[in-house]
């Protein structure tokens, strides 16, 4: 190397990053008289000659793509559309807004006043048979479960049964963290506190009498939620109540969490599926939540056509925020519930593609002509 080994080192480092040469000049010319050690490597990478695919967009190359994509989308769209069209859905509004003359108006007013336990019933006709399994949803509108401060007002640690979560809920839960006496609330937070508490019972009119339709409440939440994410605190002496000792119920709840489903130890406390479904905060202000499924007994193959009656325990006030409540019966297909939009999008896009394809074809032909003229 050059006269000064130090300088040489700088040079050798290819990238002259730190040009703070300790010697002045950063050793710029130290290479003079040295071996040709400063010659850059002649590799494809350093000389930017890596083999490469260089796509060029033009009408010619885009044409087949447009046609193929268009046809594929049309086909998919048709499939989607028909599969969506086979889904039966029935919506029943039971908000009972004042002045609507609805059966539930009375209960709506009562719930607004704070009274609970009001029941009302709706009669409705199923125009056609709903093949099973039929899902029973409730739908709330104008209900912002996705409000930031609301949706974080929960303690997942507590809900997963961690003892410390029970005794010391997360800060996010406040002001529903402790009751006025300072006793920690379980389950804490605004979401749990505002648990949807209307209940529904379905009756089928057969031979002049209403027979109850059995509603299955198992498996309405995600399996991972009810089995992994949510779990009750460890039982003390086999008693869930003892496990919850030292906690208070959420202010809006009539009973403590462990009494959510008294009879079924697998569906009470934090692992109550209605509770779990509610705790999965909805993405949009108008949302449904799965309430029950009809898949048992006589109705395992679906709901027959006919008259039904739905008995509603109207507890949940929605009028204060101009909300609505609905009950929805829906069948399911391979792609979930009714979803006409996707099919339509595919159809529209498919046809748009084909249309554009034709335009591009015209452009392509015209350009080729022009090109030839240019050449001439």
């Amino acid at each position: 190397m050059g006269p000064c080994p130090v300088v040489g080192q700088w040079q050798g480092s290819g990238l002259s990053l730190g040009l703070h040469g300790a010697l002045p000049g950063g050793g710029a010319m130290a290479g003079i008289g040295a071996l040709p050690g400063n010659k850059p490597d002649n590799t494809a990478f350093t000389q930017q000659r890596l083999p490469a695919w260089q796509p060029l967009l033009s009408a010619g190359t885009a044409l087949p793509l447009f046609f193929c994509a268009g046809l594929a989308c049309l086909a998919l769209g048709l499939g989607l559309h028909f599969s969506s069209a086979t889904i039966r859905e029935l919506e029943l509004d039971y908000t009972g807004a004042p002045g609507s003359g609805h059966n539930c108006s009375r209960c709506a007013n009562a719930s607004r006043a704070g009274a609970a336990g009001c029941t009302c019933s709706l009669r409705f006709e199923l125009p056609e048979r709903f093949p099973g399994p039929v899902c029973l949803y409730y739908q709330l509108a104008n209900y912002y479960q996705n409000h930031r401060r609301y949706s974080v007002s929960r303690d997942d640690r507590q809900l997963s049964g961690v003892a410390s979560g029970l005794s010391n809920p997360a800060r996010e839960c406040s002001p529903f963290r402790t009751d006025p006496r300072g006793i920690p609330i379980a389950p804490c937070g605004a979401i749990a506190n505002s648990l949807f508490n209307d209940t529904f019972a379905l009756y089928h009119l057969a031979n002049g009498t209403f027979y109850p339709v059995p509603l299955d409440n198992r498996g309405i939440s995600w399996w991972t939620d009810s089995n992994i994410k949510f779990s009750n605190p460890e039982l003390i002496n086999g008693s869930l109540e003892a496990a919850f000792r030292g906690t208070a119920k959420p202010p809006n709840w009539p009973h403590a969490a462990y009494t959510l489903d008294m009879g079924n130890l697998n569906n009470t406390g934090f692992i109550n599926e209605d509770f779990i479904v509610w705790m999965r905060t909805a993405a949009l202000p108008t949302f449904r939540k799965l309430y029950r499924r009809v898949r048992e007994g006589n109705f395992s193959s679906g709901l027959p056509q006919g008259t039904y009656r739905l008995d509603i325990t109207y507890n949940y006030p929605v009028l204060s925020f101009q909300g609505t409540k609905k009950v929805i019966f829906s069948t399911v297909s391979w792609m979930g519930g009714k979803n006409p939009f996707l099919g339509i999008v595919y159809l529209i896009f498919g046809s748009a593609c084909i249309l554009t394809g034709f335009v591009m074809l015209a452009v392509h032909i015209k350009f080729q002509k022009q090109n030839q003229m240019d050449v001439e």
């Binding site: 040009l19 040709p36 009408a59 002001p175 995600w222 992994i228 994410k229 896009f349």
Partner: protein, 1448 residues
């Protein structure tokens, strides 16, 4: 801290020896206040790294912004995320930067350590000897002993040198890159070098100036105990970092140490400039801030209104911990802040870091480009500024220096005029042409190598052989042709050796003497001899001036002599003689006779001593015919680089050791010895002349060609061998170095025999001509003769300048002993002065250099660098305006401009030379008017075709008006002082090229600044010398050429290249790539952030503007940091929109960068609009799909996140023009990383990210068919418009870039054909001859120059006899030579132009109208030239270019 006190108080720097205080405590040492020699260039220490680095990083606005936002997130009222989580991105980014900084600092630390622990010898009193100490332990006041080839540890004042003359040689390559040796001299009072220096006896106090960074400025004095002061200057200072050469031992006292050394003070770090894109980007960031503000405002208002719309608090409205609800106004305000946190990434934080990485990558690739590597000096391009790579793609104006930048700065002696007689050196000219041709052969070969690289790789051994033979081939054939000597032996080796020595390529060294002049020299020496025998004749003027002329060439310089075999081994004295056979008596006898001989002004040759007279004559007559022979022999030895000189060296040293006086006397003593030396001369080693400037070396080589060989130089003596082999040793009484103010240098010598004191001066003709002795004062005859000589010489000088030679005048003056003594006293005083020493020195110099007698003048050719015309043509085609700013003469500059195609023969050239403001103004006005008239015609013409052209060739405004403008420094002054800048600029806008001659460095930078500021354009300055530094710094991009003139320009530059031609690829290819890559990347980043952030914004409309995110925060962070960061970075480094070959062959493509086509307001806003459109699609397709379903927040967010990932990546894919394996890997890798990370994270994290547990989301979605359906259709819809537009644009080839991309797809031959067609389509007007294989242009360059010269010679009405150089036979010869150039396009072109010019002469040339009324001839050096120029113009068919020059 303690040293500050003292330093502040004093203006002087006082150093005393450390030795008396060695046993004392350090506290008592008077030198304790000075820095120690340990250096520390690291920014951080181990402990201070974290706080200091964080502090430094907070200097960046973006970092502050993000930290502020992260801090805001800790405020519970407004937080949008988990407080701690929001610190992650800023921490990651700062950590990455910190790691980079730490690594850099560590490297610096290691280097420092290595340097600090280097060892040197320091005197210790305890040991009474020099002991080894580390550099870091050296203190100010220590005595340091330096040995040969040692690096100097600190700034040391030289007190002793083992050299008997008290000289120490330095190589300053580490400091300024100059490889020639510099001499340093022992401080004068310590020049008693016979006794070894004893530091213990040093009682003096050294007083000097305080540390500063001026390498060449240093002065002070040594105060002896008796208060006597001895002055010293920078010639006694050994600078840290330099290397001792050719000196066994040097001892000095440390004056400055460590960071106070000049080297360290000069060491400024890399420069940080802000590129145009970055400036543009900052504006757009403000736009983003505005956008952010609007979004937040909408959020705040929306939240307020939404909040206020409830009569009762709904259950989902959560009160604060105390159970209170906020008023809607306050809630709105809080929401505003929350939204800022939420939408913060609208300001692209990752952009800053990505840009840094991308620029590193770009710099790496530029640095590694093998085409920008210069094999001769083994230097790749240096990127000194790391962050303005993309500016290279946007240059609109180039300001170029001429010498060393356009030209090689390899000075070749070309012609000379002595005593009014011109010597054309036609043999020499021929030699140069042959050289050039061969050079271009080599270029061909090199080019071949470049293009056929794969082939070469296979045949490696073969090429290696070829490579070795390359220099051989050049030397051999070139020499063989004109000398007829075959010297096959060791030529190759010799060549390679030579390349290591500055300024001595073969072409510079070999000067073929002009036969006439050689005869004259021979006559002169003969005559002198005869005169010496019969000292009666008087008219010796002409002959002596010939010898004087060559003596001046050999002496009047600062060249250091060394030999080629051992390049750094200086020859201190010529290999004189064996000290045998000469009796003292005989010497005395000789001296006696010499004194008797009165030779008047001329000097005597030893041979002339009458003692040997007769035999001398006889011998001389024998020798004279052999003179050339001896020259040739000499040459042989030169090129065999013989090793047989070892013996001589021994004698050298001995001779060296002899007292000086004796050696001189003996030098002039005996003819036998003299002849002995001649015969020895055959075996003489080659002398390497190491000069500070190439002109000097060229002149010394020229003198040598006439057998006036410079043998040695010390500060006190200079020895020259005369043609007959006599050695003359002159005592140098004083050397007045060259400076740019005086523009001349002088040496004062005492003639060894006549004892006359002679001043030899050489310098710029304009200066010397004014300093000549007034002819009127001499007697009438002499006066007339002098006047004639002056006039003739002036004419020759004009001639030289006109065809691009650098001119120097040589003059002399004889001083009387008395005058000199007076002057010397004066000088000494000035030297000892500390205050305004420089002015005093200048004064004294000017005092001496008056009343000179003109000896002659030289014309030195500075050859154009290879590839310059081609490069300039290409750059111009790329739409770059090229200005040449030079300090050279107007004529020289104009001619270089023609030969490098800066000006075309058909251009109208306006020349403005004036010193008067009013005339300047009116001239500018007139010229403007004229120019406008012309361009209007052209514009209408263009409009006529415009409609049809504009669609396909929107950038074809290339029909530039062919107007050149030449102004000189004085005019520039007037323009700057008279506020005529705007008019000047207005005029230059119409000009094809602008030439500023005689410009000072300051003017150069002022011009660069003026254009940059007023026209708001991107400027680039390129230069190689110290005088270009200010210009380089004034421009947006400064490029230094690491050439012959040291490293100052390089140090000041952003990029340093070694050849001008590299500029072509640097700008056209790398500049274009860097610009388009970075511009696209920046736009993409804005797009990316806007499209991603607006997803969150759209969601606010569905969550009551409450600041909810539907995407898990970790996913969001990772989205920006990892999932979508790599592809754009890779894109920014590697994407190639057009291949290098196409970019080079179609310079026009550069215009896209110039016009900022990729990144401007419209593209930015389109990108932002597209981002909004895409985000709308990405949000609302899933929204409509999942509307009225039981989807939860994060399950809704997962497909949206996935969709936008696909959209953003596919958008990038559409932008990418090159898909290498790296691109595929990063693209696919990013997608895989996303899914892998998401599934793992969602499977593992049950409650880890409270309160928004993302558990099992991705798994759930992956099992849902509608997820796939949505993820397929949405990105496709989002990207359809862009795809459509790109496809249509691609079809219609809407831009040249797209067209070029399509050309790239074609097979090679077809592509070349297409490119040619494209270009020929552009050049309806054959203004720029474009031979597409560019080497042809190269080769024809020389012919062009000659033909132009021929044209001038042939058609100018210089009927003067003085133009002997262009006597008819020679001209014919030249013409033949040109015509014989087969297939030479230039010849044909020339002929064609001749024809057209003759035809078109009917049309009035535009310059003439202007010229006629304003032509006011004034007495001045240019007048004759000017009028003749005008005359040419008026003669029909005389001249092909119309020049309108106005001198006032």
């Amino acid at each position: 801290l303690k040293r500050k006190r003292k330093k502040k108080n004093e203006n002087k720097w006082v150093v005393v020896s450390n030795l008396p205080f060695e046993s004392c405590k350090w506290k008592e040492n008077p030198n304790r206040h000075y820095d120690c020699n340990k250096i520390k260039t690291t920014k951080y220490t181990f402990l201070s790294f974290i706080p200091k680095n964080i502090f430094e990083q907070f200097h960046r606005f973006a970092n502050l912004y993000f930290v502020a936002i992260a801090a805001l997130n800790f405020v519970p009222m407004v937080n949008a995320f988990q407080p701690a989580v929001s610190l992650i991105p800023i921490c990651v980014i700062m950590a990455i930067t910190a790691v980079k900084d730490a690594w850099e600092d560590f490297r610096r630390y290691q280097l420092d350590k290595e340097i600090n622990n280097m060892v040197c010898l320091v005197y210790s009193r305890k040991e009474s000897d020099y002991i080894e100490k580390c550099w870091k332990d050296v203190r100010v006041g220590d005595f340091v002993q330096l040995q040969c080839n040692e690096i100097i540890p600190a700034d040391i004042l030289l007190l002793y040198s083992s050299d008997q003359n008290g000289i120490c040689h330095l190589e300053t390559a580490n400091l300024d890159g100059e490889t020639n040796l510099k001499q340093r001299q022992v401080v004068k009072g310590f020049s008693n070098q016979n006794t070894p220096f004893d530091p213990e006896l040093f009682q003096n106090t050294i007083v000097c100036e305080k540390p500063n960074n001026d390498l060449n400025k240093f002065n002070g004095f040594v105060e002896q105990p008796d208060h006597k002061r001895i002055g010293f200057g920078s010639e006694s200072l050994l600078l840290r970092g330099c290397t001792i050469r050719n000196t066994e031992i040097a001892i000095g006292i440390v004056i400055y140490a460590g960071h106070e050394t000049k080297a360290m003070l000069n060491n400024s770090g890399p420069r940080y400039k802000r590129s145009k894109i970055e400036r543009r980007m900052n504006i757009d960031i403000f736009f983003c801030v505005g956008l952010l503000f609007i979004m937040c405002l909408i959020g705040a208002l929306g939240h307020g209104i939404w909040n206020g719309s409830f009569s009762e608090r709904p259950p989902y409205e959560v009160p604060d911990p105390n159970g209170n609800y906020l008023s809607s106004a306050l809630a709105g305000f809080y929401m505003f802040l929350t939204m800022i946190i939420l939408l913060q990434i609208l300001i692209p934080i990752s952009l800053y870091v990505s840009i840094e990485f991308v620029k590193l990558g770009q710099v790496f690739l530029i640095h590694n480009d093998i085409d920008l590597y210069d094999e001769d000096v083994d230097l790749p391009i240096q990127c000194r500024a790391l962050n303005i790579t993309e500016d290279l793609g946007q240059i609109q104006y180039i300001f170029s220096d001429k010498t060393g930048t356009l030209t090689e700065n390899k000075m070749v002696f070309r012609r000379c005029t002595v005593d009014g007689n011109e010597f054309s050196h036609q043999e020499n000219a021929k030699r140069l042409e042959t050289h050039k041709e061969l050079d271009s052969d080599d270029e061909d070969w090199a080019r071949h190598q470049h293009f056929a690289l794969p082939v070469i790789k296979i045949e490696k051994p073969d090429t290696l052989k070829q490579k070795n033979s390359k220099p051989l081939r050049r030397c051999q054939s070139a020499r063989a042709r004109f000398q007829g000597h075959a010297r096959k032996k060791s030529l190759g080796r010799c060549d390679s050796l030579q390349s290591q020595v500055a300024f001595s390529s073969t072409i510079e060294k070999d000067v073929t003497p002009d036969n006439r002049l050689l005869m004259k020299v021979r006559d002169a020496t003969l005559q002198i001899e005869s005169l010496a025998s019969f000292p009666s004749a008087k008219d010796t003027c002409s002959t002596t001036s010939v010898t004087d002329f060559f003596l001046a060439l050999a002496i009047c310089n600062t060249v250091v002599v060394s030999t080629a075999t051992e390049p750094r081994q200086r020859v201190t004295a010529p290999p004189l003689m064996k000290p045998s056979g000469i009796s003292l008596e005989r010497i005395h006898q000789l001296l006696q006779r010499l004194k008797l001989a009165n030779l008047g002004q001329s000097f005597s040759l030893t041979q002339s001593s009458s003692d040997l007279g007769a035999s001398v004559n006889a011998k001389n007559s024998k020798e004279n015919p052999a003179a050339t022979d001896s020259y040739n022999k000499d040459d042989i030895s030169t090129h065999t680089c013989s090793n047989s000189t070892d013996g001589d060296y021994d004698t050298d040293d001995r001779a060296d050791a002899m007292p000086r006086k004796v050696s001189t006397e003996m030098g002039g003593a005996s003819l036998d010895e003299v002849f002995g030396s001649v015969s020895q001369g055959h075996l003489q080693p080659e002398f390497c002349y190491e000069a500070e400037s190439p002109d000097e070396a060229a002149l010394v080589h020229a003198a040598r060609a006439y057998s006036f060989t410079l043998m040695s130089r010390t500060p006190e003596q200079v020895t020259v061998r005369l043609p007959q082999g006599t050695l003359l040793t002159f005592d140098i009484l004083c050397t007045l170095g060259f400076d740019s103010v005086r523009k001349r240098m002088s040496v004062v010598v005492r003639h060894p025999f006549t004892n006359e004191i002679i001043v030899y001066t050489k310098g710029a003709d304009s200066v010397i001509m004014d300093l000549l002795e007034d002819p009127a004062k001499a007697d009438f005859n002499m006066g007339r003769k002098l006047r004639r000589i002056h006039a003739k010489t002036q004419k020759h000088l004009d001639w030289y300048a006109r065809y691009g030679l650098r001119t120097l005048c040589i003059a002399k003056k004889v001083l009387s002993e008395h005058d000199f003594r007076k002057w010397a006293n004066f000088r000494r005083e000035a030297e000892a002065a500390i205050d305004n020493r420089d002015e005093l020195l200048m004064d004294t110099a000017q005092h001496l250099e008056t009343k000179l007698t003109l000896l002659g003048a030289t014309g030195i050719e500075d050859r154009l660098q290879e590839g310059v015309p081609d490069t300039i043509a290409a750059l111009r085609e790329a739409g770059i305006q090229i200005w040449v700013l030079t300090g050279d003469k107007q004529e020289t500059a104009v001619n270089i401009a023609y030969s490098c195609k800066l000006l075309d023969q058909k251009d109208t050239v306006f020349t403005i030379n004036t010193e008067n403001k009013e005339t300047c103004e009116s001239l500018l006005n007139l010229t403007l008017e004229e120019v406008r008239k012309n361009s209007n015609v052209e514009r209408t013409k263009w409009n006529f075709f415009g409609i049809s052209l504009s669609s396909s060739l929107p950038a074809s405004v290339a029909s530039s008006p062919d107007i050149g403008l030449v102004v000189d420094g004085k005019t520039l002054n007037v323009i700057f002082q008279g506020k005529l800048e705007e008019k000047f600029l207005e005029l230059t806008k119409y000009c094809r090229s602008v030439l500023c001659c005689r410009a000072t460095p300051l003017q150069k930078s002022m011009v660069a600044k003026l254009v940059r500021r007023q026209l708001k354009v991107m400027t680039l300055s390129i230069g190689d010398g110290a005088n270009d530094v200010s210009m380089i710094q004034a421009a947006d991009v400064g490029i230094g050429i690491s050439g012959q003139e040291g490293m100052q320009a390089v140090m000041a530059s952003d990029f340093a290249i070694s050849r001008f031609k590299h500029l072509k690829k640097l700008l056209l290819v790398h500049g274009h790539w860097c610009y388009s890559r970075l511009a696209k990347m920046v736009i993409y980043f804005f797009y990316k952030n806007v499209s991603y952030v607006s997803l969150l914004f759209w969601y606010q409309f569905f969550c009551g503007f409450s600041g909810t995110t539907m995407i898990d925060y970790w996913q969001m962070i990772f989205f920006n940091l990892f999932f979508t960061s790599m592809p754009p970075i890779l894109f920014g480094i590697l994407d190639k929109d057009v291949s290098a070959e196409t970019l080079l062959s179609l310079p026009e493509l550069y215009k896209s960068g110039q016009n900022s086509e990729t990144y401007k307001l419209s593209t930015f806003s389109i990108a932002v609009m597209d981002a909004f459109y895409q985000s709308l699609i990405c949000f609302f397709v899933p929204y409509l799909t999942y509307k009225d379903s039981d989807i939860d927040v994060f399950t809704f967010g997962t497909p949206i996140n996935t969709i936008s990932l696909f959209t953003i990546l596919l958008h990038q894919a559409l932008e990418m023009k090159t898909w290498t394996c790296f691109h595929w890997i990063t693209m696919i890798g990013s997608v895989l990383l996303y899914f892998t990370f998401s599934t793992i994270y969602n499977a593992v994290c049950v409650v880890c990210n409270e309160p928004t547990s993302p558990f099992w989301l991705m798994e759930d979605q992956l099992s849902d068919p509608s997820f796939y359906l949505v993820c397929f259709i949405t990105p496709v819809i989002a990207l359809l418009p862009r795809y459509l537009v790109l496809a249509v644009r691609g079809t219609f080839r809407a831009s040249p870039i797209l067209k070029a991309q399509q050309l790239d797809k074609l097979p090679k031959e077809q592509r070349d054909l297409e490119i040619q067609r494209w270009r020929s389509g552009k050049q309806d007007t054959p203004s720029i001859p474009m031979a597409s294989p560019s080497d042809e242009v190269d080769r024809t360059n020389s012919n062009l120059r000659v033909s132009q010269f021929l044209g001038q010679a042939a058609f100018t009405p210089h009927g003067n006899n003085d133009t002997q150089g262009l006597s008819t036979p020679e001209m014919n010869h030249l013409r033949d030579w040109i015509l014989n150039g087969e297939g030479n396009s230039s010849t044909r072109r020339w002929a064609r132009e001749e024809a057209t010019a003759a035809n078109s002469l009917g049309r009035p040339c535009p310059g003439r109208d202007l010229l006629e009324p304003t032509r006011i001839a004034s007495p001045g050096p240019f007048t004759s030239h000017l009028t003749s120029d005008n005359a040419e113009e008026l003669t029909p068919g005389s001249h092909r270019r119309s020049v309108s020059a106005v001198t006032l």
